[in-house]
């Protein structure tokens, strides 16, 4: 089946093992939500899928429609149809939003002519209106001085312009007021065309009021530990994560601290021994 397949993915950064065997499928036309306490590797998974240079994959496979994603550079992954709306996108002063988006659209038209300026402006205007953004947005520098909510909308604006096959939205709901959440949610839902595969990373069930999910998974300790449907998210929303930890016998759900603590204890131990 078409889509993104992740098998036994392990990745590390700066000597920390963060992802420890992720198995996940995002099917074309389906929406998959991931939840999980802070620091359990959700954003890392998104970054690794996109090819962030700070992470090293040590084991496992990622394929998009059967193509080896790990063999591609970040820009090749984007042109192959992957899109990541980032939890905290970079600010790029000096580069205007419209120059950037136009360059990104032209980059996808390999071998073809660049998008005609007039058509581009029309599309961008429509997207700005649909997301109810400030009209001067195209001329503002990319994310520079944007409010938290403006940055999130700008990510969705880009998604609208770029028509990805698979979109990963990392906490697109955080920092949005209620009205903005509805606008963003409705825009994303409008992009569902039966082919778009969506991965929603979120902490809150309310996002699903606007974007329905076919599957819900929970991430802990750098792995997917549980998968269910929307009712799983509802239960987490009211009861928290303790019941899952109990069920699975997990004490510390995070990824990094255990390593660090061990090192720290060892240091103390040697210090005491010396004394």
């Amino acid at each position: 089946m078409a889509g993104l397949r992740i098998e036994n993915l392990h990745a590390e950064a700066e000597g920390h093992r963060i992802l420890r065997g992720v198995d996940l499928c995002i099917d074309a036309g389906k929406t998959h939500a991931i939840m999980g306490p802070n620091g359990t590797g959700k954003s890392t998974l998104a970054s690794v899928i996109m090819g962030h240079p700070r992470y090293k994959v040590t084991e496992g496979k990622i394929t998009l429609d059967g193509e080896d994603v790990l063999a591609m550079t970040t820009d090749e992954r984007a042109r192959a149809g992957l899109f990541l709306a980032m939890q905290s996108p970079a600010e790029v002063p000096g580069v205007t939003n419209s120059d950037f988006i136009k360059a990104a659209m032209d980059a996808r038209r390999e071998g073809e002519k660049n998008i005609p300026l007039f058509r581009f402006i029309k599309q961008l205007d429509d997207a700005v209106a649909a997301l109810k953004m400030r009209e001067d947005l195209p001329h503002r520098y990319l994310n520079d001085g944007f409010s938290g909510g403006e940055k999130k909308r700008n990510e969705i604006l880009q998604m609208r312009m770029l028509h990805p096959k698979i979109a990963i939205l990392d906490e697109i709901d955080s920092g949005l007021d209620v009205d903005a959440l509805k606008i963003v949610g409705d825009n994303v839902t409008a992009m569902k065309d039966g082919k778009l595969g969506l991965l929603l990373i979120t902490h809150y069930q309310r996002l699903l009021d606007y974007i329905s999910a076919d599957k819900v998974s929970v991430m802990m300790q750098g792995r997917i530990v549980k998968t269910g449907d929307e009712s799983l998210m509802k239960r987490i929303d009211t009861e928290g994560y303790d019941w899952i930890k109990e069920e699975l016998g997990i004490e510390d759900e995070r990824v990094v601290p255990d390593d660090d603590e061990r090192v720290f204890l060892e240091k103390c131990a040697t210090k005491e021994a010396l004394e």
Binding site: G94, V95, D99, A104
Partner: protein, 339 residues
């Protein structure tokens, strides 16, 4: 090389107010009103005398141009000066005199057609209340060496804004010295340098506050690629008694590649308490997060870098207004560092 490879050779399209300095001759067309030009042969003794007070004693220039803006001149269309170097060595003197309350804008382009050794001296005199907006772009051949000295005397209530862009393949040494000689004199110097291959470029800018309530700003922008070396030296001197003066310096640079070097040395010598002074430096490689963000939308690494650098050089847009030159500059940016 630039002249041959790029279809965007630096040229003025708009020829009004164009003066060209070629083979020791001054060719002028439709000079803006209120401006008078002389070369070494036809300069009257009285004008020469008034120029002596601020130009250097040196002699032996191969090409000379004196520009006088008459007192009270209102700002009109810009004077364009084209410096074309057809000989192997070129020692130019360009002296610009603004009489009281005169306002003028001058844009200069300097190019060569073959390897040259350029040694130019520019002298500026701004009498009380005058104002000059001056910008210059240069693009020489790879084996050329360009040495440029600019010296400006800015008197009471006068304002000088000087923009330079070095975009060619030459080795260059620029020295810009500004003397703020009267109360409320103001000077701003902005230099933009693109260096690539094995180019070596040094830009030194000095601001000397010699009167109270004077204001200065030094801005250096640079991109160093390949194995090039680029150095910015900014020095500001505020002497004792020059109260209420303000001085600022900015050094901004992007280093591309492992072997390029970009140094910035900001210096502030201040011998007076009642002043404002600040300097900021931002020199470094392209931010990894910015590059990743642009690439995550499908831009190749090269295109992403170019976009970031174009953004970084946004001040160039103000430096050049003619659209064809603007295009030329963009073309040169891509050609020089976008390989």
């Amino acid at each position: 090389m630039i002249a041959e490879q790029s279809a965007v050779r630096l040229r003025f399209v708009d020829k009004t107010g164009l003066v060209s300095l070629r083979d020791g001759r001054v060719l002028a067309k439709d000079l803006p009103r209120g401006l008078t030009l002389y070369d070494e042969k036809n300069v009257p003794e009285a004008v020469r005398d008034s120029f002596r007070s601020f130009t250097s004693e040196e002699e032996g220039f191969s090409d000379t141009l004196y520009v006088v803006a008459e007192a009270g001149l209102q700002k009109g269309p810009p004077l364009r000066i084209m410096l074309e170097r057809t000989r192997e060595t070129f020692r130019g003197r360009i002296a610009i005199y603004l009489a009281k309350e005169a306002q003028a804008e001058i844009r200069a382009l300097a190019i060569d057609e073959a390897k040259t050794l350029v040694d130019d001296t520019w002298d500026f005199f701004l009498a009380e209340g005058s104002s000059l907006v001056f910008s210059t772009l240069s693009a020489y051949e790879e084996e050329s060496m360009a040495r440029t000295r600019r010296r400006a005397h800015v008197h009471e209530n006068a304002t000088l804004s000087l923009d330079t862009g070095a975009l060619g393949d030459e080795n260059a040494h620029q020295e810009n010295r500004f003397f703020l000689k009267g109360r409320k004199a103001r000077a701003r110097s902005r230099s933009v340098v693109l260096s690539a291959k094995r180019q070596e470029t040094v830009v030194k800018t000095l601001m000397a506050h010699e009167a109270p309530a004077t204001e200065s700003l030094i801005e250096h922008y640079g991109v160093a690629a390949d194995e090039s070396f680029l150095a910015f030296e900014a020095a500001t001197r505020i002497e004792k008694g020059m109260k209420k003066s303000s001085a600022r310096q900015k050094n901004h640079g992007v280093i591309l590649g492992e072997k390029a070097r970009l140094d910035a040395n900001p210096l502030l010598y201040i011998d007076e308490y009642d002043v404002e002074a600040a300097h900021g430096a931002a020199i470094g490689r392209i931010d990894e997060e910015e590059l990743y963000y642009l690439m995550s939308r499908g831009l190749t690494e090269r295109d992403a870098q170019m976009l970031i650098i174009q953004g970084f050089l946004a001040p160039l847009d103000k430096l050049v207004e003619e659209t064809d030159i603007e295009r030329a500059v963009r073309g040169l940016v891509t050609e020089k560092i976008g390989r």
